[in-house]
């Protein structure tokens, strides 16, 4: 397009203004990208959890235990395929603030149910054989610099051993990864039997049961059958899909999260309004020049397109830079935040959404002055000066 040079020159005629405007747009999209990513990372635990796995919890609350005998009773329910169980260990490494998400599990069935975890067969066998062995996720291994063969002491903020110590010694027997980049590998699992024999609270109880069904279509009826079976017993259960459970857990952060995101998005739009206003004013200053172009024979639609293209370019310039900045910030924060938010990735849909807003900004800020330019009467434009 021959007018491209003209558009470019219009855009860059006042470098300071160009800088300020694109900087403001940059900031807006930086925040948008970063905060949207944060939000979707919070939600992603929900998205990723398998819909075909069910969790059986104590109906009072998930922090209350279930009797271990329930495992076999659940297994007997029709439609249930694989069953495993887990206990929350409340683990930390050296300092209580340095939390390590750790579960005591039944090794064989756990890996069977969580089929998305990938582990070297030799390491897996070694872990199965060593009761003090612990299997750690790749990301957890990376954060703490642990590798196979390391002896690591993990403490529990809930449980104690008979000798009064609340620290257990483990041997890293293997490191697991996921079959998909987004599978959470930020936790560790060890032998349930070892845990039960060493902790002082005694008893044969488990935290919760995880199961798969023979057919996802049966999920609802299986869940009802399980809960019915334990109704009116000393320990009632509440069975739901893993996804529903995770969703409810995220919801607990509650309206605080909602308020934060609301506030940030409000700010995002306000910045766009302020910037848009400046962009509109900037074009208005050029009324005379537009009149000259018209008198030279530039047609109105052509000028309309030029003005629109300019604001579109400006919007994309600042916006893409902001999105790029958000990408860098997110990548930088990824490791620091890995413990809390494993899925901190600026996703395609966030980028697309941001791009949509850039186009919208370009359109809205461009349309009004472009329309004014279209309608501009050369006479009034000249006599106005």
């Amino acid at each position: 397009m021959k007018d491209l040079y003209l558009i470019y020159k219009n855009l860059t005629r006042k470098p300071l203004r160009l800088f300020l405007t694109s900087f403001a747009i940059f900031i807006a999209f930086l925040l948008f990208g970063a905060v949207t990513t944060l939000k979707s990372a919070l939600d992603s635990g929900v998205e990723l959890s398998a819909d075909d796995r069910l969790v059986v919890l104590n109906s009072i609350n998930f922090t209350n235990p279930l009797p271990v005998a329930y495992v076999n009773r659940v297994k007997a329910v029709e439609g249930v395929s694989k069953v495993t169980h887990a206990n929350w260990f409340g683990g930390y490494f050296q300092e209580p603030t340095n939390q390590v998400v750790t579960f005591a599990v039944d090794p064989e069935t756990y890996l069977d149910v969580y089929s998305e975890l990938v582990i070297d067969p030799a390491q897996q066998d070694a872990w199965f054989r060593n009761r003090q062995g612990i299997l750690i996720g790749e990301r957890l291994a990376k954060i703490n610099g642990w590798k196979v063969g390391d002896r690591i002491p993990l403490s529990s903020n809930i449980f104690s051993q008979d000798n009064g110590s609340s620290t257990w010694d483990f041997v890293v027997e293997g490191v697991f990864t996921g079959n998909d980049e987004q599978v959470d590998t930020g936790y560790a699992i060890f032998h349930y039997k070892y845990f039960m024999e060493t902790q002082t609270m005694g008893g044969d109880w488990i935290g919760w049961i995880i199961l798969t069904t023979t057919d996802p279509a049966l999920n609802e009826s299986v869940a009802r059958a399980i809960d019915d079976q334990f109704a009116n017993s000393s320990t009632e259960t509440d069975t739901s899909t893993e996804k529903a459970f995770n969703k409810a857990f995220i919801e607990q952060i509650g309206n605080v999260g909602l308020i934060i995101f609301g506030v940030v998005f409000m700010a995002f739009f306000t910045i766009l309004v302020v910037v848009g206003n400046a962009m509109v004013l900037a074009v208005r200053e050029r009324t005379g020049e537009i009149a000259v172009l018209k008198s030279l024979g530039f047609t109105s639609p052509r000028i309309f397109r030029m003005v629109l293209a300019e604001s579109m370019l400006l919007s994309l310039l600042g916006g893409m830079a902001g999105l790029g900045g958000a990408y860098v910030v997110v990548a930088g924060a990824k490791d620091a935040m890995a413990q809390f938010l494993p899925n901190l990735v600026l996703g395609t849909d966030t980028a697309l959404q941001a791009f949509g807003f850039m186009v919208l900004l370009g359109l809205v800020t461009g349309l009004l002055p472009a329309y004014n330019a279209l309608k501009l009467n050369i006479i009034t434009a000249f006599s106005r000066r």
Binding site: L6, K9, V292, L293, L296, T299, S300, R385
Partner: protein, 229 residues
């Protein structure tokens, strides 16, 4: 000489508030091809309105404006723009150069409306700038040039697409005597050597002397007509 412009019973009025202001009631004039007409008259006499109507940026309330056998007062806005691009070069009092473009790019502007290739455009720009003796300033920005130089760039811009007609609105109004004379000589040259028809609105009797004839406009009427020496 054949008639380039023919104005028939042109009237122009507009409404300001409750008042109807009439600029022309019944204006008739003819401009031959190759003419150089100066239009003089006091402020408010309608000089600029007349020029605007000739340039197709303003339309009469009634009457007809014919250009080379074509009626232009009834053309659509888009067609008028095309017509201007093909036939008219404008020269303004305040030059009206694009401040962010250098001299060559300013001159090139009307050529963007043609189908000429980049190379061809460059050549034409060079020719036009040479004609106004500014070839060596091609890369200068308007802010780096004197008023007279800027006006010559504006003239180069007006002639680069080789229009038949040049319309000048107080082309020397912002310039000192010596510079004004240079500009007017350039216009004269364009008229005589390149057969451009020129209509020039001016306050300045000295400027009007460069024209072939001068029309005096007062209260929307031509009061006397004299041929320049």
């Amino acid at each position: 000489m054949t008639a380039l412009f023919d104005l028939k019973k042109v009237a122009k009025s507009f409404v300001k508030g409750k008042e109807k202001i009439s600029i022309f009631d019944d204006l008739n004039m003819t401009i031959e091809e190759g003419d150089f007409v100066a239009i003089m008259g006091p402020s408010g006499s309608g000089k600029t309105t007349l020029l605007n109507m000739l340039g197709g940026v303003d339309q009469p309330t009634s009457g007809e404006v014919w250009f080379a056998g074509e009626r232009i007062d009834s053309l659509s806005e888009g067609n008028l723009a095309k017509w201007r691009a093909n036939n008219v070069g404008f020269i303004f009092q305040f030059y009206n150069l694009m401040p962010m473009l250098n001299a060559a790019r300013n001159v090139e502007l009307p050529l963007l409306l043609t189908k000429l290739s980049g190379k061809q455009r460059k050549k034409n720009v060079e020719t036009a700038l040479t004609l106004v003796e500014l070839a060596d300033r091609a890369k200068h920005m308007p802010s780096e040039m004197s008023g007279g130089q800027q006006q010559r760039v504006a003239i180069a811009r007006a002639i680069v697409s080789d229009p038949k007609l040049l319309l000048c609105d107080e082309p020397t109004g912002d310039l000192d005597r010596a510079t004004a004379d240079e500009i007017l000589k350039t216009l004269q040259l364009l008229n005589e050597k390149f057969n451009k028809t020129i209509v020039m609105v001016t306050h300045d009797p000295a400027a009007a002397k460069y024209a072939k004839r001068t029309l005096h406009l007062d209260k929307g009427e031509f009061v006397e007509e004299g041929m320049a020496a």
